[in-house]
């Protein structure tokens, strides 16, 4: 096995055992993973929501640049770093 690098895989997705769910009790989104629960803030939540196996990294960057009216270069930097971190922790597949 080798480490997956964001540039190598253009279409990130959540593996089947990583579950993005709306937690009604706490009125917020959570990511359920083996022996841990992530509680992403509103901005960080944009990433797992868009990792659906259809959006490429390019498409995610484009959509977020538009949504946040920010330069794509800056968004790409942030998104790549976040995706790489999530991939290293096993929360997304590339």
């Amino acid at each position: 096995m080798t480490r997956a690098i964001v540039e190598d895989g253009p279409v990130p997705r959540l593996p089947w055992h990583i579950k993005l769910r709306f937690d009604k009790q706490r009125d917020r989104w959570v990511v359920l993973a083996p022996e841990r629960v992530l509680v992403p803030d509103e901005t960080a939540l944009e990433i797992p929501k868009r990792c659906d196996g259809e959006n490429s990294v390019d498409a995610i960057v484009g959509a977020l640049a538009e949504a946040y009216a920010a330069p794509a270069v800056k968004i790409r930097e942030d998104v790549s770093a976040l995706l790489q971190d999530l991939a290293d922790k096993g929360f997304i597949q590339l």
């Binding site: 055992h17 959570v30 022996e35 096993g90």
Partner: protein, 373 residues
């Protein structure tokens, strides 16, 4: 923030169900209590199903099916399926020795999300010696292959101590080879059986430092391949662990007979009474149990915890350890360098680890009983 009354208590995140205390292994650091509960006392399927329903209603997100060895229960698949139907994220904590390929397939079918498999050592002979079960290692390796072949994500849990730390590099390599996505390298904790066997388990400071180096190097080397969780031993610590993320803050544990605890070792605090799921609802226990409220928040804390700026980081450490070492569960955890008992715990560790290790006093029922698989 303190929770003196039942106001402002957040719902728990996770519940651990000890479906049984029966287990073919006899690990001398088992987290089950010294007084193991018998098969006849175990909750029936219908009651466990109700516990799962109450857990989901209470806001619990994750359920850990544990034991003992949970696969001795023939209703495990039914319970996993019920949990999945309630949108609870399910984890099976198993020794793996009773699994076969068909059982793994049935668990996948039932909706199991994840498996945590324990490994006693990378060396088969020593692994079987530690677990007290001949042939266990080989069966575990086979089980890991079935688990991965079925597409289930795998965490390997490796409890480490003085008699297997020398093999830590090989244990890490084994976890990679088995396809684990996570490895817990957990220095054994000294409660119950572990406390009874402390002298046989306690590493020296050198062994601990070496283990930490090995884990840190492997964590960097295996970044993106396998995630490490590293649990350090309290006795050599300067600050206590945030035990259970704080007493009755995030987690609850149900024993085979249905007693509800804030942690698996809580029954060692003998002046606390713990309710059973057969007597009270889970939500009521979580909110109102005097035992849960006894050490909840920060209001119960003595000095030096009360005025410590870490009081909401480590929550005073571990109540069971405070009791085991100082005789009073309401004391600061002696793992903390600020505890007046800190030098005692360090001296114990240094002295015991320097002596020749005694034989294991293996986990067992009070009277010999046959394990019924």
């Amino acid at each position: 923030m303190t929770a003196p009354a039942n106001i402002g208590i957040d719902p728990p995140l996770a519940i651990l169900l000890e479906l049984t205390h029966r287990c073919p292994l006899r690990c001398p650091y088992c987290s089950n209590p010294l007084e193991l509960e018998r098969r006849g006392a175990e909750l029936d399927t219908a009651t466990w199903r109700r516990v799962l329903e109450e857990a989901a209603e209470l806001g619990i997100l994750q359920v850990h099916f544990s034991g003992g060895e949970p696969t001795v229960r023939h209703d495990l698949e039914a319970l996993v399926e019920h949990a999945a139907g309630l949108d609870l994220y399910s984890n099976l904590i198993t020794a793996g020795v009773l699994l076969d390929e068909a059982r793994v397939a049935r668990l996948v079918e039932a909706g199991l999300d994840h498996v945590q498999l324990s490994i006693q050592d990378s060396d088969a002979v020593n692994a079987d010696h530690i677990g007290g079960f001949a042939g266990g290692f080989t069966r575990k390796i086979q089980a890991a292959h079935w688990i991965r072949a079925a597409g289930l994500p795998l965490t390997v849990n490796a409890p480490v101590h003085r008699s297997n730390l020398a093999h830590l590099e090989d244990i890490i390599a084994l976890a990679v080879e088995l396809g684990a996505e996570r490895l817990e390298v957990a220095h054994v904790q000294y409660y119950g059986w572990g406390l009874r066997n402390r002298a046989a388990l306690m590493p020296t400071r050198d062994q601990l430092d070496r283990a930490t180096e090995v884990v840190e190097a492997a964590r960097a080397r295996l970044k993106g391949v396998m995630v490490f969780d590293y649990v350090v031993p309290d006795y050599y610590a300067q600050r206590p662990k945030s035990c259970m993320g704080g007493w009755a803050r995030q987690f609850l544990n149900v024993t085979p007979s249905g007693r509800v605890l804030p942690c698996h070792a809580a029954e060692t605090i003998s002046d606390l009474d713990f309710e059973r799921v057969t007597e009270c609802g889970l939500a009521e226990i979580w909110r109102d149990s005097p035992a849960f409220n006894r050490f909840r928040g920060t209001g119960w804390m003595p000095e030096p915890c009360r005025s410590c700026d870490r009081r909401e980081i480590d929550w005073g450490g571990c109540r069971c350890q405070a009791l085991a070492i100082t005789g009073d569960a309401a004391n600061t955890d002696p793992a903390c360098g600020l505890s007046p008992h800190h030098s005692e715990i360090l001296t114990l560790a240094e002295e015991e680890s320097a002596r020749e290790a005694p034989e294991f006093d293996y986990r067992r029922m009070a009277n010999p009983a046959v394990v019924e698989a």
